[in-house]
């Protein structure tokens, strides 16, 4: 017999599922997953860990892009491998678009557009009458887009 101090892996998954509430929570209309969106931004935008909510300031403007961005599809609901909880989104594309973006914001449109993650592309990326696609990393515990380890 032995006792090993640890954060329960199931707890990590349940955080991503919105099961636990240590502070001021929200009343949910249903048990369905929230709607998450991804918006694109130009190099003039200031986005970092202090970003709390989606903003239209310096959001991309161009053919094939609508303010607010694309709705993301959750391709893997919160799960765990070993002691890491993770989830995955399906790749998303702005088709027949002419846009230039330097980064993106993933946000929760169900919960008052609260920020989830800021993505830096490392430079301007441009589509011209073409497709602009964001490819999410491999869906596993060491690479997935959102992980709790």
């Amino acid at each position: 017999m032995a006792i090993s101090q640890a954060m329960a892996t199931s707890f990590k998954v349940e955080i991503l599922d919105g099961i636990h509430n240590f502070g001021t929570g929200v009343v949910r209309a249903s048990t369905a997953a929230d709607t998450f969106k991804i918006a694109l931004y130009t190099s003039s935008a200031t986005l970092d860990s202090t970003t709390t909510v989606y903003t239209t300031s310096n959001e991309v403007v161009g053919t094939g892009y609508t303010a607010g961005g694309n709705t993301l599809t959750i391709s893997q609901v919160p799960t765990s491998t070993s002691t890491t909880a993770w989830l995955d989104f399906a790749d998303t594309t702005w088709s027949t678009s002419t846009i230039t973006a330097n980064g993106a914001l993933i946000y929760n449109s169900t919960q008052s557009n609260k920020a989830v993650a800021i993505l830096a592309f490392g430079g301007d990326k441009t589509s011209t009458a073409g497709d602009f696609t964001i490819i999410f990393p491999t869906a596993n515990s060491s690479s997935a887009i959102i992980r709790i380890a």
Binding site: D91, L119, K125, S127, T128, G130, I135, P137
Partner: protein
């Protein structure tokens, strides 16, 4: 002390100019979602996995091309039905 950390993975951005993605480009994306070969795997296992990955990619590519061709057939019929048979030539390779 109990601790846990939140992490976010790195995304890639692919963009095209004056065209959409080719079946080959999409097959590459698909196979990387389906099969991930660890860089620390045993060389023999890795070689087998890479060979399997290449085979599956070929299968995905074949059916992507089939889907594109089939969709062009549907679009060509819609153009003909709309009275624009001459536009179907634009769909030919």
């Amino acid at each position: 002390m109990l601790s846990a950390g939140f992490f976010e993975g790195d995304v890639k951005v692919l963009a095209t100019q004056g065209r959409g993605f080719t079946p080959e480009e999409i097959a590459e994306r698909a196979i990387n979602k389906v099969i991930s070969v660890g860089k620390d795997s045993h060389p023999t296992i890795r070689a087998q996995a890479e060979a399997y990955k290449a085979h599956i990619k070929d299968v995905i590519l074949f059916y992507l091309k089939e889907a594109v061709q089939s969709d062009r057939t549907t679009i060509a019929n819609r153009l003909r039905d709309a009275g624009h048979p001459e536009l179907t030539k634009l769909l030919e390779n």
